[in-house]
Amino acid sequence: MRYYFKTKQLSVGYQAKPLIRDIEIGLEKGEILTLIGPNGAGKSTILKSIAGQLQLMGGNVYLEQKDMTQMSGKEISQRMAVVFTEKLRTELMTCEDVVATGRYPYTGRFGILSKEDYAIVGEAMELVHVSGIKNRDFTKISDGQRQRVMLARAICQEPEMILLDEPTSFLDVKYKLEFLSVLQELRRKKGLTVIMSLHELELAERISDRILCVKGEYVERFGKPEDIFKPGYIRSLFDIGAGSFDEENDSMELEAPAGRADIFVIAGGGTGRKVYRRLQRQGRAFLTGILFENDLDYPAARALAAGVIKAEGFEPIRETLLMEAREKMDSCQKVICCKRTFGSLEKANEELLAYARETGKNVEII
């Protein structure tokens, strides 16, 4: 298959020391590839090597079947733009000036911008919503604004491909979403191909067509997000020790409290999560149930509770399970019930609450 962008046995590293070997990437035009992996795994090194800023330690990078090392600086600059974590050095430059530097590959000998160039600069700034700060000094704007100005600058370069190193790191949630939406829009409108590194796994999963997992000396995995975000994989990729990451729900939980559980939480339908997390903050171990496997509370319960009494989804709760729950409850002093009304399929939980009262537990209803 002929890919638009392709790396073949690419090895990257610093000072003749290969850090990551045999990287094989294949992208269609207009696809978004995200690099994920632990800090220091070499995501930036890969991006810099593709951009031609670091000498390749081996292998080749092809853009439309053409070896990128054979391209002139000018050709590359018109096809590939970058937004790196290195700060742009500026002095006495307004945001508009900074964006205008993206026109460099298209201007003449003295780099003077034409009316058309300024129109493109204006358009790029409009697209990422920074027109309002165009006359502000680039050094005196917030990190989030700076990041968007940098994106406008890259857009202004009218590239076919854009490389971004942790572009969302300094952005608040609003701008994170907006930033990625702009990338999607560019992909739709102009067929822009994107390679970037992200720390936000949940965003990576949503926006990417392909994901490259970088860890250690080799690329761990390369593929579609649905093939990457398999249960347990993120935990192993990042060597997560404390806390947990749930690939199916993109949720993170802190480490479950240790010790003997003496609280029983009756929950379901999303009512329990906040309570679990409060107990986690207080460092108090707890048991919870009875939860259907497809309940909103279930992922958090699995991550945080010392024990979960779970029932098969869409099936009535069996009597034996209720017995087991009663038994577990016997070992607890306190019972927290997050529900006031119970649906017809969770009469078991109602019975459980009654049992707690009968046995004289300290019952708290939330």
Partner: protein
């Protein structure tokens, strides 16, 4: 915004141009023999070459003023290139030891050639100074790979400067030949004793270097953003860096060959000019720096000649008085920005 800027640039250039012209006239008119402005204009207009005043004007004041104009501009430009190269606001040919390196080699060559009774030409002086400048530059570059902090780089440069100056002093002290009596004066920095032949040579060299620098203004602008981004914009970083080193060395060498080491003009002028223009765009900065350096040096040379007349001060004494505070101000300003 774009239009406002154009006006500001124009105003700045008019100011600098007028400043240079006025100072040029003052430098020609003021001195132990006073020449009035109408006298000067008449003498120049009629190409009069007889009479004491006319001779002083044509043989002493005019070549000297022309040399100050050219070398002052070259010095500021060299400083600007070095500041750009090292991304360091307090770089300059003097603090990085480049002037002193050039001075050392020139002194060695002069003493050596004087011993053989060979006449030293302007061109060979420039060549010697260029070799010295490149030598110091080489050391600074080697050190800059090891020390990345800009203050440390400057300290290294100052150290190199001291070593070179010490060697120069040694050579000058032990040389007894009459031909190098002037060497001591020169090694302190002075614009005195310029001839038209000197001026011709320096004009050619500086004009050529200026033209090349001006043609590099586009890649220089990208280089200011940082190497990573410049490279992505298609700039050949290696080539540009070599160009910057060679050009700044040629310019520094030219000054040292004719006037000896002149301090602080190279550091201070680009900052003053930058504030005046309100931009760092090379296409404006390059010519403005040149004019600014000319004006600064003309002003300082005038003071050097007149303050304690008939004794002449060394030019560096005067440039330091006006230049050093600018450097301090720049550093204070930087600090403040980083805190904020």
């Amino acid at each position: 915004m774009q239009r406002n800027r154009k006006y500001r640039y124009m105003a700045a250039f008019v100011l600098l141009g007028a400043g240079v012209l006025v100072l040029l006239a003052l430098n020609i008119c003021i001195g132990s023999v006073k020449i009035t402005l109408p006298d000067m204009l008449r003498t120049l207009g009629n190409q009069e070459r007889n009479g004491t005043a006319a001779r002083i004007l044509w043989d002493i004041r005019l070549p000297r003023a022309a040399a100050v104009l050219i070398l002052g501009g070259a010095l500021a430009l060299a400083g600007y290139l070095l500041q750009t190269f090292f991304h360091n606001p307090i770089a300059g040919p003097f603090v990085l030891g480049i002037s002193s390196g050039a001075k050392m080699v020139v002194a060695l060559v002069m003493v050596f050639l004087a011993g053989k009774a060979v006449r030293v030409t302007s061109a060979s002086m420039i060549l010697a100074a260029f070799v010295g400048a490149m030598l110091s530059m080489g050391f600074v570059l080697l050190l800059s790979r090891r020390v990345s902090r800009m203050s440390m780089l400057v300290v290294s440069g100052v150290m190199i400067g001291y070593i070179c100056s010490a060697v120069t002093e040694l050579v000058v002290t032990f040389a007894e030949d009459e031909q190098i009596v002037n060497l001591h004066n020169w090694s302190q920095g002075s614009f005195s004793g310029m001839t038209w032949e000197n001026v011709e040579v320096m004009a050619v060299v500086v004009a050529a270097a200026f033209a090349v620098v001006f043609l590099l203004s586009k890649p220089l602008g990208a280089y200011q953003l940082g190497e990573a981004y410049a490279q992505n914009l298609g700039v050949n970083i290696r080539l540009l860096r070599i160009g910057l080193v060679v050009l700044s060395s040629i310019l520094s060498a030219c000054i040292v060959a004719f006037a000896g080491p002149v301090s602080f003009v190279g550091i201070a002028t680009p900052h003053l000019v930058k504030k005046l223009l309100g931009t760092t765009e090379p296409i404006w900065m390059i010519p403005a720096c040149f004019l600014g350096g000319s004006a600064f040096c003309l002003f300082c040379d005038l003071l050097a000649r007149c303050l304690l007349a008939p004794t002449e001060l060394s030019i560096s004494t005067v440039t330091a008085i006006f230049g050093a505070p600018v450097v301090l101000w720049v550093m204070a300003e930087r600090k403040k920005e980083r805190v904020a």
